[in-house]
Amino acid sequence: MSEHTTTLEPTETVHSHEEVRHHGPKNPPRVYLLTLTGLLILTILTVAVAHFDLGEFNVFAAIGIATIKATLVALFFMHLLHDRPMNAIILCTAFILLGLLLSFCFLDSGTRYNLVPASAVPPAGVDYNRPKNLGVPYAGEKSHGKPVGTAGPMDKK
């Protein structure tokens, strides 16, 4: 039997040199505490940013900060920084597929306006068939006086 033992010894901290440890403790608790502090600061930041009207930039700021937070969680809490690359590849694949789904959704939504199925029964005073982005009064305004459920002007194809 070989005398060479694996890295299963109880060690409190990760060795500073370039030793890749896949089993056993990966980060010292200090790293986790710093990660948590960063995450809490970013949470306060994302709430603070929402108070300012940045126009189109608002949603990008919100998603951007959320992505930084998710990356921190993945790298340190989920140990991807010190783990085998295969796990990170699996995670990235999921996000690439999600990106594909989102991009095709927006290709679709950018080229049509009426999203509600014809069988849907609208609430009183609401007309699903009125496209709001073509200068027509906003759906739900009762002053329009249009009978509920009738086809909008854009349905004449």
Binding site: S2, T46, D108
Partner: protein, 228 residues
């Protein structure tokens, strides 16, 4: 503790001599190989979770781009302080979870049990806050689809927002609930003394699941509560 010292090259050798570790399945050469294999399986499961929630996120983004006014009016019914509180609670629970993994990996039994308990308490706080939020929505008739009965809706499309709100936070809440059950199972095993530095795979995998649930909330919070 001598029974848990294994060797990379010599483990198959060792088991052939009859010193078989009950935590090492016979089709794996070493514990490290078993740990890595199990972890890849967990990551594949997490990938399917991302895609399941991803479908809802895509639907939300699609409808939000069609009815921005309705979504903006509807999101005002959500209480940002409660959402922020839940975010902080979940972040802290993620920290205690990773500390539990660390304590298991360093053979600290009592601290492992303590950190698991704090994680479960945080998960319960999250659900209690969610309960108060939900009962407020139920009271105001802010319900999904045709159940929407709030009369002060100037846009006529707020029901779409609440369909997504209840679907996304509901599915996330179910994940928290499952997380609590699995964490209780971990706690029972930890008290029984099942985990040590040579075998803590279940703690590590539940930790990954718990962090993913946290990551999903990290995205849900700004999208639902803070959009303008």
């Amino acid at each position: 503790m001598s029974s848990i010292s294994t060797t990379v090259e010599g483990h198959a050798h060792e088991s052939a001599h009859g010193h078989h570790d009950p935590n090492l399945q016979h089709h794996f050469a070493t514990k490290e190989q078993q740990f890595d294999t199990t972890k890849i399986g967990m990551w594949l499961f997490l990938a399917t979770e991302i895609l399941m929630f991803g479908g809802l996120f895509a639907g939300f983004a699609y409808m939000q781009s069609r009815f921005p006014e309705a979504f903006f009016e509807a999101h005002k019914h959500l209480q940002v302080p409660l959402g922020a509180l839940n975010t902080i609670v979940l972040l802290i629970s993620s920290f205690t979870m990773v500390m539990a993994v660390h304590k298991a990996a360093t053979n600290k039994q009592k601290q492992l049990i303590a950190y698991l308990t704090i994680t479960i308490v945080c998960a319960c706080i999250f659900l209690v806050v969610k309960y108060f939020e939900y009962s407020h929505k139920f009271h105001d008739g802010l319900l999904p689809g045709r159940f929407f009965s709030n009369t002060e809706d100037p846009t006529g499309h707020q029901f779409i927002f609440f369909s997504f709100y209840f679907m996304m936070t509901g599915l996330h809440g179910i994940h928290i609930l499952i997380g609590i059950v699995v964490l209780l199972w971990l706690l029972r095993r930890a008290i029984r003394g099942d985990f040590s530095r040579s075998y803590y795979t279940p703690v590590d995998l539940v930790g990954l699941y718990w962090h993913l649930v946290d990551v999903i909330w990290i995205y849900l919070f700004p999208l639902l509560y803070l959009i303008r």
